[in-house]
């Protein structure tokens, strides 16, 4: 009861302040709003710069990808780090590394069991087995085609992770872990960040700033700096995809078995 009264007060005050500010907002959908076009009388906003110059700077028509991985690539590096951190934190919290409850562990037979206790879900099993490679190919397409269509490392990485989760759901977690073991997903998650940070770090070797992929022109053998940026963005997205894929599967594996990586759903 006390919590409810307190919640009502907090919600009312916060909501009132927010609504008080809302009336001061530019109209919804206004292309001349400060966020879209810059402050009146001031310089034009970054958003307009992106729309007008991104293609010239990076040869990437998908503005979101270009801003994500190049202009604000520094943010995205830490976004990937957030994912990695979450994986590590869940690991630190849940993972049972000692065989503490060995006596109460279920018999080996049941570890192969799925949630409804059925060993022989033939239709589901085979359908998923066919679907998994298709999902993965599509995921790779999403990663690689992020330059031109909605997509990129995060989306593709989640799909890749989902393909392993699908194996675990349709068969058993043991099947999935046989294909993507604990040691390999930790390593792959670290590798993903290494790729990202490494690609972003390389320009420093050429005396340019962090994330300035244009400096990789000589290394990649591209004609202009724009194409080097475009390739740099792709490298970065690949790193993101690795990390996201590994961490998504790691989160699933740990959450579904309370960190024992045995039995589970």
């Amino acid at each position: 009861m006390k919590a409810k009264i307190f919640a009502s007060i907090a919600v009312t005050i916060t909501g009132a302040i927010l609504l008080y500010a809302v009336t001061d907002f530019p109209n919804f959908g206004d292309p001349r709003s400060p966020a879209n076009a810059g402050v009146e009388g001031g310089s034009s906003s970054a958003s307009l710069y992106y729309i007008e110059n991104t293609y010239r700077d990076t040869k990437v028509p998908n503005l979101v990808t270009a801003i994500l991985a190049d202009y604000r690539g520094y943010d995205t590096l830490f976004e990937t780090v957030v994912i990695f951190t979450a994986g590590m934190a869940i690991f630190a919290i849940l993972r049972v590394l000692r065989n503490e409850d060995a006596p109460s562990a279920p018999d080996p037979e049941s570890t192969n069991r799925t949630i409804d206790g059925d060993h022989h879900r033939i239709i589901v099993g085979i359908t998923c087995r066919i679907a998994v490679p298709l999902v993965q190919i599509f995921a790779l397409y999403v990663v690689a085609h992020g330059h031109h269509s909605p997509g990129g490392g995060f989306q593709g990485g989640v799909m890749l992770g989902a393909s392993f989760i699908l194996i675990a759901l349709s068969g058993s977690l043991r099947d999935a872990l046989a294909r993507f073991s604990e040691a390999s997903y930790i390593r792959l998650a670290s590798l993903g960040i290494l790729i990202y940070a490494g690609v972003a770090f390389l320009p420093l070797v050429f005396g340019r700033n962090f994330v300035d992929y244009g400096a990789l022109r000589g290394l990649l053998g591209t004609e202009g700096e724009e194409m080097a940026r475009s390739h740099g963005i792709f490298g970065v997205e690949l790193g993101v995809a690795f990390t996201v894929m590994s961490v998504m599967f790691a989160i699933f594996a740990n959450l579904s078995t309370r960190g024992r990586l045995k039995g589970g759903l």
């Binding site: 500010a21 970054a46 202009y71 957030v82 770090f201």
Partner: protein, 518 residues
């Protein structure tokens, strides 16, 4: 390479964390050398930044090389305010890392690599928050810091730390979301995320700065950061989170996370909303100073009520946060209050580090969780106890420790601003601290009933007979960081003139540069 120091300072721990992820899982011996070398590298970079700032003023680093027009890319900005904080973060992290040599996750030593990865990523987050010049980037890095903190708190074996981490997670996420709303409102009205850009627009357009959306943005950013720094009514998560986490985690979380949040507040005030603008709205400042006075009073009162050492120290942190918030908002024309706040961030990080290292060592090697367990401490571990005494004297504010000088500057600011209640609150709180620590010193020095160490946790009884006390200091890896922290507390106090002068060039330079809208 020296041009890249602002980014190298946080890349070193990032690459360290990657290295542990790649190679440390199998062989745990890799971890510690990697952690220490990464942090030492960061320390060198941080010192390099301080020297460069000292020589050439504010240092801008344009990530990805997008210089013009402003706000396209992300800029890292090192000036006289944040560069000393970088150094202190690196130092405290190194001390905590040395302290954790043998008992990273306390019970689960198998989780050593995970502990160190989280530890390094926490440092990445803290460095990043401190050095960035982009309002949204702060949010991302706040979340890096927060997630690592939850992991570091919950990595311990106790049941309570999980609940504490959960509460911290709820409060922390709501706080970070509030900050995000604030940044969203700024973006909505100003179309920029770059701090300096936002400031230039606000400084040149008075009516915009007073608009409802911008004021709301400021309120939400402040409330969000206050949640993160455990400012009094929003402090609920802190005592449990820091006192039930493993000693190694507490040794880095308690000194740094709240302090860096205070820095974010100072940064928002100085280079986003602008001191001139805040000084024009004095009533806001008065209101916040009153809140801070309440926070100081509440923190000190709660500290008096605690029986456990770590809980008591946590309550002191809440009071110290009150000092800093109050000092930052005094609004005295010479900015002594703000100077005191920035200096107190440095001082408090070192003092808290010293005290938590000591508390961790006492818990581990003296079996002391409660105040009365400390009896016989001086005879058993005189050196460690001395370190603790130095930390305690600094919190009380005894010269020549840094705690004295930070209070001195805060009080000077308060007197110039005419906030006598704040002065009174500071002095009363010092008195409370004196009572608290002298009670501990008395128990530790004259305590009749020395308790023999059991080497672990809280499970000893009180029915021990007096035994002859053998002198047994904690092992060197715990003793050295403790004494180093104590030495630094005194050193920072002795060098207060230089440090304060440096900070003030920053505060006054930033203020003037920005108000002319360069």
């Amino acid at each position: 390479m020296s041009d890249h120091l602002p980014v190298l300072v946080l890349l070193a721990p990032l690459f360290g964390a990657i290295a542990i992820g790649l190679f440390g899982m199998r062989d745990h011996r890799v971890c510690l050398p990697v952690v220490l070398s990464a942090l030492v590298l960061s320390l060198c970079c941080a010192i390099g930044i301080v020297l460069k700032v000292h020589a050439g003023g504010t240092l801008d680093y344009f990530v990805a090389g997008w210089k013009a027009p402003r706000g396209i890319g992300i800029v890292l900005r090192a000036d006289a305010i944040n560069s000393p904080i970088l150094v202190v973060i690196a130092i405290v992290a190194i001390l905590a890392a040395v302290f954790t040599v043998r008992h990273a996750g306390e019970r689960d030593t198998e989780k050593t690599p995970h502990f160190y990865i989280l530890f390094l990523l926490l440092c990445v987050g803290l460095f990043g928050i401190t050095i960035t010049g982009d309002a949204f980037n702060v949010f991302v890095l706040i979340e890096v810091t927060a997630l690592t903190s939850y992991g570091l708190i919950a990595i311990g074996g106790s049941k309570r730390c999980k609940v504490a981490a959960f509460h911290y997670l709820i409060m922390g996420t709501v706080g970070a979301s509030f900050y995000l709303i604030g940044v969203g409102y700024l973006y909505l009205k100003l179309g920029s995320l770059n701090m300096q850009d936002i400031h230039t627009i606000l400084a040149s357009n008075e009516s915009l700065a007073d608009s409802r959306a911008i004021r709301t943005a400021f309120v939400f950013i402040l409330v969000g950061i206050w949640t993160k720094m455990a400012f009094f009514p929003l402090h609920g998560w802190l005592p449990n989170a820091y006192s039930y986490s493993p000693s190694g985690s507490a040794a880095i979380l308690a000194p740094l996370v709240t302090k860096v949040s205070v820095y974010v507040m100072v940064r928002m005030m100085v280079s986003v909303f602008g001191l001139d603008h805040l000084e024009a709205n004095v009533e806001w400042g008065h209101f916040v100073v009153w809140l801070a006075i309440i926070a100081i009073a509440a923190g000190s009162t709660m500290a008096l009520a605690q029986r456990e050492i770590k809980k008591m120290l946590c309550c002191l942190i809440i009071a110290e946060v009150g000092y800093m918030v109050g000092g930052a908002w005094l609004g005295d024309p010479q900015r002594w209050g703000l100077t005191g706040t920035v200096y107190h961030i440095l001082a408090d990080a070192l003092m808290t580090s010293c005290l938590f290292l000591a508390a961790g060592a006492f818990a581990k090697w003296h079996g002391a969780a409660k105040l009365e367990d400390l009896s016989g401490l001086f005879r058993k571990m005189p050196l460690a106890a001395t370190g603790f005494v130095v930390g305690g004297l600094a919190i009380i504010g005894v010269p020549p420790t840094c705690g004295f000088y930070s209070k001195f500057y805060l009080i000077r600011g308060a007197i110039e601003a005419g906030h006598w209640v704040y002065v009174a609150a500071l002095l009363a709180s010092s008195l409370v601290n004196a009572v608290l620590f002298f009670r501990i010193f008395e128990i530790a020095y004259f305590g009749k009933n020395p308790v023999e160490s059991h080497g672990h946790g809280d499970d000893h009884g009180h029915d021990h007979e007096s035994e002859p006390v053998v002198r047994r200091e904690p092992p060197l890896h715990a003793l050295i960081p403790l004494l180093a922290a104590a030495a630094l507390v005194i050193l920072l106090g002795l060098c207060n003139g230089t440090v304060v002068e440096f900070i003030r060039t920053g505060l006054i330079e930033t203020a003037t540069v920005v108000s002319t809208g360069r």
